[in-house]
Amino acid sequence: MGSSQVWLNLTLNTLALASLLAMLTIGLTLIFGIMRIMNFAHGALYMLGAYSGIAAAQLLGNFWIGLLAAPLAAAAFGSIFEYTLLRRLYRRDGGSFLLVTFGLSLVLTEAIRLIFGPNTRDVDLPSVLSGVVWFGDEPYPAYRIFLIALGIVVLASLAFVFLRTRLGLLIRAIAQNAEMTHALGIDVQLIRSLTFAVGCAFAGLGGYLAVPLITGYIGMGGAAIIDAFVIVMIGGMGSFFGSAAGSLLVALTQTFGNYYLPDFALVATYLLMICVLLCRPGGLFGEQE
């Protein structure tokens, strides 16, 4: 494996990881932007997506079904949660949200263990994704190429929705000033619920897409949530583009860091966040305080 191949390999790995991380964090940042809450249950929803995607795929013997089932399940569950609980709490302080979303993540994780058992679960990839792509004589997993492509498609369509549609405009408007938007006669609550559902859907999709790399296991949510918060902070809370950029930056740090300085891999991401937050407390793309 020559050095140019190493570089190609690492670059592709960065993009694939960034695409997975972006799926995980976009929902979190959207929800923060529009509702000003830190959703600690995001990791559990990510796990829920993974497990429900696996279940659907296994039931129907088709990997692609899972891509549909995972976001739907997470969005459905998230909406129920939003409708029955979060809605009562909008006037409360951050502590209430912390406690209720933390409680939900405990409930969800344990419910998944009860339903699916504690053992690791996996999904069979269709042959087109389980194969390899050859770069010279180096095999590269087709699934990672798929992740990169999917990431680009999803981000591009989200960017379109965000910048070019009325819904995107409303989301940005509410993120800036919910009361003003409400005063303009817009159903802020509806947009909030919609955004929450979409955010959860992306968490679910991200969870399912991670399964072929890390499998589905109890504790995958807890492992994901911290990464997600770090990325969202680096990018800027509430900023869609920030979380995309943050995902790329963290993926870059982890991929190249693990290769060149594996001993510092554990702390590199946190050092990155400290540097960003000390220089720009609002994150790279966020509003500066």
Binding site: M1, P118, N119, V132, P139, P141, Y143, A210, I214, P262
Partner: protein, 401 residues
């Protein structure tokens, strides 16, 4: 002030009395009632998968032995507590089991830090602990305490087995990847020392932090170094993730993959991608011994599955314990300890001896390769060679060779 001081002293006296009391009270209680065994293990949380193996083995054991009238007429009862793998919780649960539950026999603790937290207290508690998962070499070396017995294999034993197996091979260049914590690091250190002694070359080493999700950078590094053999010291979900990603990069086409832990729980999610993988099988369902055949039959009847590594390891520990209680004719800590020391039994792994000097069970260790087998829908480890205890167990109170 004087009151406080006096009550302080009185209480100090009461505690020392309390430490003696259980040992006096327990045998009597045990004669009359069930034999109770405490299992502080991981029921929920990240260790739930291993905890489930521990619990399944214990449940089956209780059911089986109680159907036969128990141990010398006393039924066996397990008390499970959830530690979530946290040493502080394990400490609290174990204290509760021992002090409030009046239990003096403990088994099924999962992580090494949990074991290390509990061990120094066993003497005061006058309780015994049978280690069935914790592989840290130090348990029977630097941190040895008389009330701990390790019935399972240790990390160094597994590393030694692989090194011995490799000695016969013509392969020269070795790369190691291990989880970055005590067990992974000590395994790699042991392994690299042993193969260097064999005039083979360790060409690289990577330690991956616990909970790593993307192993692609490490795989790129391994590919670039291009060793002949990749030695893997990883366990749990991390092992599954690494093996899965290694398979996606077709790593096995370029080099031989050898893992120190070849458990069904880790390779089952990989399905056919795991076929051909080499590694150490601490316990193997297909091992040909009368005790094992019976265990596998019972296990299949109960759970409709074949037993995995720690189900076998836990079963072996319980057989040791039951035999010791029979020989001691009591559950008294000192008596059971005395019976265990030097005891030999025919277990699911064949003849196993609990050596007296450091309480490490001397047993054979298997090298296995993953392959398909009849009657099991997924690939499983199949024994290719067994290494006798004399070859792989370290010297007394040692964890290196």
């Amino acid at each position: 002030m004087s009151v406080t001081r006096r009550s302080l002293l009185t209480n100090a006296a009461m505690i020392s009395a309390g430490a003696v009391l259980p040992s006096l009270a327990n045998p009597a209680k045990a004669q009359a009632n069930a034999i109770r065994i405490g299992v502080p293990t991981g029921i929920t949380g990240n260790w739930a998968a291993l905890g489930q193996q521990i619990q399944r083995a214990c449940r089956l054991y209780a059911k089986t032995i109680n159907a036969k009238g128990g141990i010398d007429g006393h039924s066996v009862e397990f008390v499970y507590e959830d530690t979530q793998g946290d040493p502080a919780a394990c400490m609290r649960k174990t204290t509760d089991l021992i002090e409030r539950g009046g239990i003096n026999l403990i088994t099924g603790i999962i992580s090494s830090p949990e074991s290390l937290a509990v061990m120094p207290r066993l003497n005061d508690w006058n309780a015994l602990y049978l280690a069935t998962i914790s592989g840290a070499g130090s348990l029977t070396a630097a941190n040895f305490v008389p009330n701990v017995f390790r019935t399972c294999t240790s990390g160094p034993m597994r590393a030694k087995t692989i090194a011995d197996w490799i000695a016969d091979s013509s392969k020269k260049r070795f790369f190691s990847i291990a989880q970055d914590y005590a067990w992974g690091k000590s395994s790699v250190a042991t392994f690299e020392k042993l193969i260097t002694d064999l005039k083979k070359e360790p060409v690289g080493q990577v330690l991956s932090p616990l909970g790593t999700k993307d192993y692609s950078s490490y795989i790129a590094r391994i590919r670039e170094t291009n060793p002949e053999v990749l030695y893997i010291a990883m366990a749990g979900d991390d092992a599954t993730a690494f093996l899965k990603q290694a398979a996606q990069y077709r790593l096995a086409d370029r080099m031989q993959l050898v893992t120190e832990v070849l458990d069904i729980v880790n390779i089952k999610p990989l399905a056919d991608a795991s076929v051909g993988l080499y590694g150490v099988s601490q316990y193997n369902f297909a091992y040909d011994a009368p005790g094992n055949a019976e265990f596998v039959r019972l296990f299949k009847a109960e759970y409709n599955e074949i037993p995995d590594t720690f189900e076998g390891e836990q079963w072996q520990a319980l057989e040791f314990l039951a035999e010791a209680i029979r020989r001691a004719k009591s559950t008294d800590t000192a008596a059971v300890r005395g019976a265990l020391e030097g005891m030999e039994i025919d277990s699911v792994k064949g003849r196993v001896k609990m050596r007296a000097c450091d309480h490490q069970a001397e047993q054979q260790v298997f090298v296995a390769q993953v392959g398909k087998t009849e009657g099991v829908p997924y690939p499983v480890p199949k024994i290719i060679k067994a290494y006798p205890a004399e070859a792989v167990v370290p010297g007394c109170r040692k964890d290196s060779y």
